[in-house]
């Protein structure tokens, strides 16, 4: 009903219809669409700076051929997928449990919500700095705690086998609160009478969770999961500060590969080619995710 009403409540607006949308449209076109198009063009060129002027020379598909054999890119892609699946999976489970608890916490809800909001608002670089100190093998608090329990400390970021897991743990610390917040809002918008009906029918906590809460929460869970999964391709700040992609290629992620090729090695054409491929893969993921969330919504509605 609301959409029908607001659909009717519209005006022609005349010139102002255009003038109000123009600034946003201009910015999107000049600073988002054109740069993405430029990225594609750049990916077919080698670009060198001489006296502040860019000199372009065409190289055809050479960068794309090179990319398919680039071990760093392969490692980055593999690590990004592992990172996204494990980190977001953990964030969803922990976030859901916390949201369930906090939704029943009564007056303490506001306290927990304030505390859990904190990591979302901290700069990624500061979170990197915090955990670099905590993971320090010599004086970090993580090893100190383990020592109290009589467990030998480890080099969390310097050990090939542990580094990716350590970075994932930081991401879980950073982003679980975000998942928690969205799921809590979803839980609190569920109709209350359903819970009461379940109680009256004598459903236990687990039965209610399995047959009432989870099915009704499915759309929110699907949207949150898809969103976090896609956005986790952005991860950069923490990796930059914690490991720089190392040791070796243990924590190399695609964002970092792009940065390294483009800026550290000053290979703008090749860096652009990697960006184009990453954007293409992301577009594919977004299409799949949209289809999946639509199905979840239809399922919940039926």
């Amino acid at each position: 009903m609301a959409t029908a009403a607001s659909g009717a409540a519209r005006r022609e607006g005349g010139a102002w219809r255009w003038l109000t949308l123009a600034p946003a449209a201009t910015i999107y076109i000049a600073l988002a669409v054109l740069p993405i198009a430029n990225l594609v063009v750049m990916s077919f060129h080698d670009i060198r700076w001489a006296d502040g002027i860019a000199r372009w020379s065409a190289v055809g598909f050479r960068h794309y051929a090179e990319l398919s054999r680039d071990p760093l890119f392969a490692a980055g892609l593999r690590n990004t997928v592992v990172f996204a699946v494990l980190a977001v999976g953990a964030e969803m489970v922990i976030g859901f449990v916390l949201a369930q608890w906090v939704s029943r916490a009564g007056r303490a809800e506001i306290v927990y919500r304030t505390v859990f909001l904190l990591p979302i608002l901290l700069p990624g670089i500061v979170i990197g700095a915090i955990w670099k100190l905590m993971y320090n093998p010599d004086f970090g608090v993580v090893n100190q705690m383990l020592a109290l329990a009589g467990i030998a400390g480890r080099d969390w970021l310097g050990d090939r086998a542990l580094a990716l897991g350590s970075v994932i743990a930081v991401d879980v610390w950073h982003w679980t609160p975000f998942v928690f917040l969205l799921l809590l809002a979803g839980l609190q918008s569920l109709p209350q009478d359903v819970h009461e009906a379940a109680k009256v029918d004598g459903a236990g906590t687990w039965t209610e969770l399995r047959y009432v809460t989870l099915p009704m929460m499915l759309p929110t869970i699907a949207v949150t999961f898809a969103f976090r999964l896609i956005v986790s391709f952005k991860v950069f700040d923490e990796v930059y500060l914690l490991t720089g992609g190392g040791p070796g290629t243990a924590t190399e992620v695609v964002s970092f590969t792009i940065y390294r090729r483009f800026f550290t090695e000053d290979r703008m054409g090749y860096g652009s080619a990697i960006s184009v491929v990453v954007l293409f893969l992301l577009a594919l993921t977004i299409v799949l995710a949209l289809a999946a969330t639509r199905r979840a919504r239809e399922r919940a509605a039926s």
Binding site: G13, W16, R17, T20, T114, V126, F236, M268
Partner: protein
């Protein structure tokens, strides 16, 4: 009646433990900022607090922390103001003007997709553009980049709030002879103030925190705080205490906003994603 109470106590204990997991790393870092390098390296739990790290951070000859702080403040303030203005106008146009349905669908769809793209993929072309125009290492380049990055969330959130402005009020104002700019200034902007607060706080914090773009588009003159902190972690024979002090000072705005504007932040985050 004992079982539910036991369960409730267990739940609160678990929640308190989770809250500790969130808070302890931040507190530990805050403490580290007041430790001498020796106390830090020994891992002393009890120590004599010192302001030496802050002193070195702020007043040593090589320090530019105040300049970085000012840079962050300028960039975050300007880009936030621009996002609020541009996003509200666009939201108003899409919600209240008679566009073919494809236009708002395209703008909102592009906003959603663009919001999910890693900024690092765009930094390359931005850098080439800025350098070709000779505006790299200027405020303008970073402000425009942050405006572009955060416009999607601005448009998404402001659309939700503009939709709630009563249309009858607009009609009445129009009958009284209000022009569109007057309508925007006297009715729309005042009525969406909660939305402006929610969007403004989020965008300010995001801009303040943003690293990947700032790292590549800024130079000596315009480096923001995250860029400065990253440099602490790399350039020096790592001064852990000074890095901790820099981190502590940099999160003060976020913590103040968290304490005084929590409701707005939650509203903004949920309106931005949970549509």
């Amino acid at each position: 009646m004992i079982a539910p109470r036991v369960k409730s106590v267990a739940m609160h204990a678990a929640l308190a433990a989770a809250a500790m997991v969130v808070l302890l790393p931040v507190l530990w870092t805050a403490l580290a900022a007041f430790k001498t390098q020796i106390a830090l390296l020994r891992g002393d739990a009890l120590f004599a607090p010192t302001l030496a790290n802050f002193h070195e951070l702020l007043f040593s000859r090589s320090s530019d922390y105040f300049a970085h702080f000012a840079n962050s403040l300028v960039v975050a303030t300007l880009s936030t103001a621009l996002v609020l203005l541009v996003a509200t106008l666009a939201a108003y146009s899409m919600v209240r003007m008679r566009w073919p349905p494809a236009v708002p669908a395209l703008v909102l769809g592009f906003s959603l997709v663009f919001h999910m793209i890693p900024p690092i993929t765009l930094v390359g072309p931005w850098y080439v553009m800025a350098r070709a125009l000779g505006v790299d290492d200027t405020y303008a380049a970073l402000v425009l980049a942050h405006l572009t990055l955060h416009l999607p969330i601005g448009i998404a959130v402001m659309s939700v709030f503009v939709r709630d402005v009563p249309f009858e009020l607009e009609e009445a104002a129009r009958l009284d002879g209000c022009t569109t700019p007057q309508l925007l200034r006297r009715i729309v902007f005042p009525l969406v103030r909660p939305g402006l607060a929610a969007t403004g706080i989020l965008v300010f914090v995001f801009s303040w925190n943003e690293f990947a773009v700032a790292l590549t588009l800024t130079g000596r003159h315009t480096a923001t705080i995250p860029v400065a902190i990253a440099r602490f972690a790399q350039e020096y024979e790592i001064k852990h205490g000074v890095m901790a002090a820099g981190a502590v000072l940099s999160v003060i705005p976020a913590i103040l906003l968290l304490l005084f504007a929590q409701r707005s932040i939650v509203k903004g985050i949920i309106a931005g994603v949970g549509k």
